[in-house]
C-alpha cells in the first residue's frame, strides 16, 4: 500500500537511503548530476490530483528539490497515514483534514511549527481566518498551516421563501422557525428543511451557536447536558416535532438534489462542495431560484457561527527534509498560488489576501462563504473528537427517530463521552501530578 517508490515499514535505514538514492539518481537523469532532495507529499482526492500542476512550478523555482506527490482517496487517507506512522514511513509533508490534527499531535507524528513560523516571512497567522487558524493550534502550539477552508452555510430555495413572504433567510432562530413554518404552509413543499440525522456536523454547529463548549473540565468530560447544548437540542427537536424536517436518515432521501428541486424541502445545511453539485444537478430552470445564506443564530446573526473545516498542510517529525518541505508549504500558501488552486479545483483559499481578488470578491456565493468564515468556531481539539461526534449523532438519532426524552438522552451521552475521555483524564491527572511532584522536589 505504501507505494512502490516508498520503502516499506521493515526496511532498514540503509535500504531506505538506497531507495532515496535510487530515486534521486532517476530524477537526476536530466539534471547535471547535482544531488536533488526528494520531498514526499501526500494529498487527498481531487486536491492530490490538481496539486501536481502547482508542484511542477515549485520545482522550477527550486531546481534542487523534487516533489513526489502521492494521491490518496479520502476514505483511505486517515488509515493510511496512521499505518505509515506506525510503520515509520510517514511522508515529509501531507494534507490533513484540520479536525484530524489533534489526533496526529497526540501521536507525536507532526512537527510543531512555532520555530518555522517565527522564521517565515511568507506565512503569518494574521493572514488567515481566526477560527480556521485556531483549529491548527493544540495546547497553544501551531501544527498546521491552513491550505483551503470550508464551512457550512444554509442552501435555500429563494423562490419558495419569497412565496412564503420572506425576502431572505432571517438571522435569528425564532424568525428562522417562523420562516420554516411559512414555507411548510405553502403546501407545495411537504417540509421546510432537510436535516439528515446521520450527518453530525449540524448538531455540533447548532450546539456551538448556543454557546456550548461541548466539553468541559479541560476538555476531559462531556458538556452535552449543560444548559447551552440543551437549548440547541430543544430547538432542533422542535423543528422535527413541528414536522418542518423529515425525520429520516440521510440515505432515505434518495436524491437530495432532486427533492430540493421538487420542493420537498427548501433549506439544507451544507458546504462549498455542494455549490458546484447543486449547479450541476439541478435543472437549468432552477438557476437563480436558489442561493446560500450564513447560518442564523439563537440570538441573531452574530451568534450564527458555523464549523471551521478544511485542510491544512503539516510537516512530519520523522522527515529529514523539513526545510524543503516547509518551502513547499510556503509556496502553496502564496495568495496567487492559492487562487490558482481555487480555480483548479474550486476549494476556497485559506489566505485572506486571496479573497480580495476580483474573482472571489465579485462572486455572490463566495461572499456569503467569506462572511460565514469570519464566524467559525473550532470543535474541541482532542483526538477522541470524531468518536464523540459519532456518539452525538447516535444520540440525535435516538431522540429524533427513537423519540428518546432529550434530558435523559443527553445525560447518557455525557456518560458515554466521559467513558471515551477516561484515558485523557488519566493523562491530564498524571501530568498534573508530575508537575506538582517536580515543584515539590525543587523545594
Amino acid at each position: 500500500m505504501a507505494g512502490l517508490a516508498l520503502p516499506g515499514p521493515l526496511t532498514s535505514r540503509a535500504a531506505r537511503a538506497l531507495a532515496v538514492a535510487g530515486l534521486v539518481a532517476l530524477a537526476g537523469c536530466r539534471g547535471a548530476g547535482e544531488a536533488r532532495t526528494t520531498v514526499r507529499f501526500w494529498a487527498m482526492g481531487r486536491e492530490g490530483e490538481v496539486v501536481q500542476e502547482l508542484v511542477r512550478d515549485f520545482e522550477r523555482e527550486n531546481p534542487t528539490v523534487r516533489v513526489i506527490v502521492q494521491q490518496m482517496p479520502w476514505d483511505a487517507a486517515h488509515e493510511k497515514l496512521l499505518t505509515a506512522f506506525v510503520g515509520r514511513s510517514t511522508p515529509d509533508l501531507a494534507q490533513l483534514g484540520n479536525t484530524w490534527i489533534p489526533e496526529f499531535v497526540a501521536l507525536r507524528a507532526v512537527e510543531p511549527l512555532g520555530p518555522w513560523l517565527a522564521g517565515s516571512r511568507a506565512v503569518a497567522e494574521s493572514s488567515y481566518f481566526a477560527g480556521i487558524w485556531d483549529t491548527n493550534v493544540v495546547d497553544g502550539v501551531p501544527y498546521g498551516v491552513p491550505w483551503y477552508v470550508d464551512t457550512r452555510v444554509l442552501f435555500y430555495r429563494r423562490d419558495l421563501l419569497r412565496q412564503a413572504g420572506w425576502d431572505s433567510i432571517p438571522g435569528g432562530w425564532s424568525e428562522w422557525l417562523r420562516a420554516m413554518e411559512d414555507v411548510k404552509r405553502l403546501g407545495r413543499g411537504r417540509f421546510a428543511i432537510f436535516l439528515p440525522t446521520n450527518e453530525y456536523t449540524p448538531w455540533i454547529v447548532l450546539g456551538m451557536q448556543a454557546g456550548s463548549p461541548l466539553l468541559r473540565d479541560g476538555e476531559s468530560r462531556g458538556d452535552f447536558s449543560g444548559p447551552e447544548y440543551r437549548r440547541a437540542a430543544a430547538f432542533y427537536l422542535e423543528v422535527f416535532r413541528r414536522g418542518l424536517a423529515p425525520n429520516v436518515a440521510g440515505a432515505t432521501i434518495a436524491n437530495r438534489y432532486q427533492e430540493f428541486e421538487r420542493g420537498t424541502f427548501a433549506m439544507y445545511i451544507s458546504g462549498p462542495w455542494d455549490v458546484g453539485e447543486f449547479g450541476r444537478r439541478l435543472s437549468p430552470a432552477m438557476k437563480g431560484a436558489w442561493f446560500i445564506a450564513t447560518l442564523p443564530g439563537p440570538d441573531g446573526p452574530a451568534s450564527g457561527v458555523s464549523s471551521a473545516g478544511g485542510s491544512s498542510l503539516v510537516l512530519f517529525r520523522d522527515s529529514r527534509h523539513k526545510r524543503e518541505a516547509w518551502r513547499l508549504v510556503e509556496y502553496l500558501s502564496r495568495p496567487e498560488v492559492q487562487l490558482r488552486f481555487q480555480r483548479l479545483c474550486g476549494n476556497l483559499p485559506a489566505r485572506l489576501e486571496a479573497w480580495r481578488d476580483s474573482s472571489l470578491a465579485n462572486d455572490p456565493f463566495a461572499r456569503v462563504f467569506e462572511r460565514q468564515l469570519r464566524r467559525v468556531v473550532s470543535t474541541p481539539k482532542v483526538p477522541e473528537w470524531e468518536n464523540i461526534s459519532k456518539s452525538l449523532q447516535d444520540c440525535v438519532e435516538s431522540m429524533v427517530l427513537g423519540h428518546a426524552p432529550p434530558d435523559s438522552a443527553l445525560a447518557s451521552l455525557d456518560r458515554r463521552v466521559d467513558r471515551i475521555l477516561e484515558k485523557r483524564r488519566w493523562l491530564l491527572e498524571r501530568e498534573r501530578r508530575r508537575v506538582a511532584g517536580g515543584t515539590a522536589e525543587a523545594r
Binding site: E103, L107, A109, A251, P383, L401, R419
Partner: protein
C-alpha cells in the same frame, strides 16, 4: 537399530512439517497471542505515539465491552444473521444443488455457473445494485410488493427491515458456494441406492428423506460450520450497504470490533471483542458437531 530408524523417520517428519509450523507460528499463533495480551491493556491512540502510557487493565476491556449496550445490540444482530441467514442459506443452496443436479435439468453447467456468479462478483458492485433494488420509492423490491398490493417497505432505512434486507442479499450472494459443495456431495451418493429404493416403490420424497439427506450428513456438517463461521464474521455487507445503521440495526460484532480498533484506535477493546467472538464461534462449532453426532445415532 529399529529405534534409530524411528528417530530418523521422526526427524524427517518434523523437517517436512517444520516450514508449515513455522509459518503458522509466526503468522498465526504469535499474532493471536499478541492480540490476547493486547486485550488486557488499554492500548489506544495515545499509546501508539507513546507506548509508555499503555496500561495493564486486566479484564476491564472485557467488562467494559460486556457493559456496553452496543455490544449486546451487535451480538443480537449477529445472532439474528447467523440463526436466520445460516439455515436460509443452507436450504437455498441445497435446493439449488438438487435443481442443478436433477436429471430433468438441461444445461446443468450453465445453471451452475449462473448460480455461482454472485459468489465471484465483487461485493461492492453487488451492494450498489442491491441498494437500487431496495430503494424505497423506485426500487424493484417495492415495485414487486406494490404489484401484489402489499405496502412498500423502507428496506435499508427502517431498523426493523434493514437486517433482513442484508440477510436476503447475503444469501443471494453466497449460496452458490455451498451449492457446489452440495453438488459434489450429491454426486457421491451411489446411484444403486436410488434404483433399489425405486424398485421397492419409495416415493421421490421418501427417497430424498431416507437416502439423500442421510448421505449428505458430513456435507451438512461442513457446510453448516463454514456458513456459521462466515456469518459470525459478517462485516463487508452492512459496511457497504448501511454502515451499521439505521439506529445500529445492522451493526455486527466484527463491525463493532473494526470501529473500536481501527476507527477509534482502542486496540485493547477491539482485541477483547475479537476474543469474545472467538469463544462464541468455538461454542457454535462444538454445538453443531455435537448435534450432528446426536442425529447420526
Amino acid at each position: 537399530m529399529r529405534g534409530a530408524i524411528e528417530l530418523r523417520q521422526h526427524r524427517a517428519g518434523w523437517a517436512f512439517v517444520a516450514p508449515a509450523l513455522v509459518l503458522i507460528g509466526v503468522f498465526f499463533f504469535v499474532p493471536v497471542l499478541a492480540g490476547l495480551v493486547l486485550s488486557f491493556t488499554d492500548f489506544d491512540i495515545y499509546a501508539i505515539g507513546r507506548p509508555s502510557v499503555a496500561r495493564f487493565v486486566g479484564l476491564r476491556n472485557y467488562a467494559d465491552v460486556l457493559a456496553n449496550p452496543l455490544f449486546w445490540k451487535a451480538l443480537g444482530n449477529t445472532l439474528y444473521f447467523v440463526l436466520l441467514g445460516g439455515p436460509l442459506s443452507v436450504v437455498t443452496s441445497l435446493v439449488a444443488a438438487l435443481l442443478v443436479s436433477s436429471k430433468l435439468t438441461r444445461l446443468q453447467g450453465l445453471f451452475r455457473s449462473i448460480f455461482f456468479m454472485p459468489v465471484v462478483t465483487t461485493l461492492v458492485a453487488v451492494a450498489v445494485v442491491w441498494r437500487y433494488l431496495y430503494q424505497p420509492e423506485y426500487g424493484l423490491a417495492n415495485w414487486a410488493l406494490r404489484a401484489f398490493g402489499i405496502r412498500p417497505v423502507d428496506w435499508l432505512g427502517d431498523p426493523h427491515w434493514a437486517m433482513l434486507a442484508i440477510i436476503l442479499m447475503a444469501v443471494w450472494k453466497n449460496f452458490g458456494y455451498n451449492m457446489l459443495i452440495f453438488v459434489a456431495g450429491l454426486q457421491g451418493i451411489p446411484e444403486e441406492l436410488y434404483e433399489a429404493a425405486e424398485l421397492d416403490g419409495a416415493s421421490p420424497w421418501a427417497r430424498f428423506v431416507h437416502i439423500t439427506l442421510p448421505s449428505l450428513g458430513p456435507t451438512f456438517l461442513f457446510v453448516g460450520v463454514i456458513t456459521m463461521l462466515g456469518n459470525f464474521q459478517l462485516f463487508a455487507e452492512p459496511y457497504v450497504m448501511t454502515q451499521g445503521g439505521p439506529l445500529k440495526a445492522t451493526t455486527t460484532l466484527v463491525m463493532l470490533m473494526y470501529e473500536e480498533g481501527f476507527r477509534w484506535w482502542r486496540m485493547g477493546a477491539g482485541a477483547a471483542i475479537a476474543f469474545l467472538l472467538f469463544v462464541l464461534m468455538m461454542a457454535g462449532t462444538l454445538l453443531q458437531m455435537r448435534l450432528q453426532r446426536e442425529t447420526r445415532r
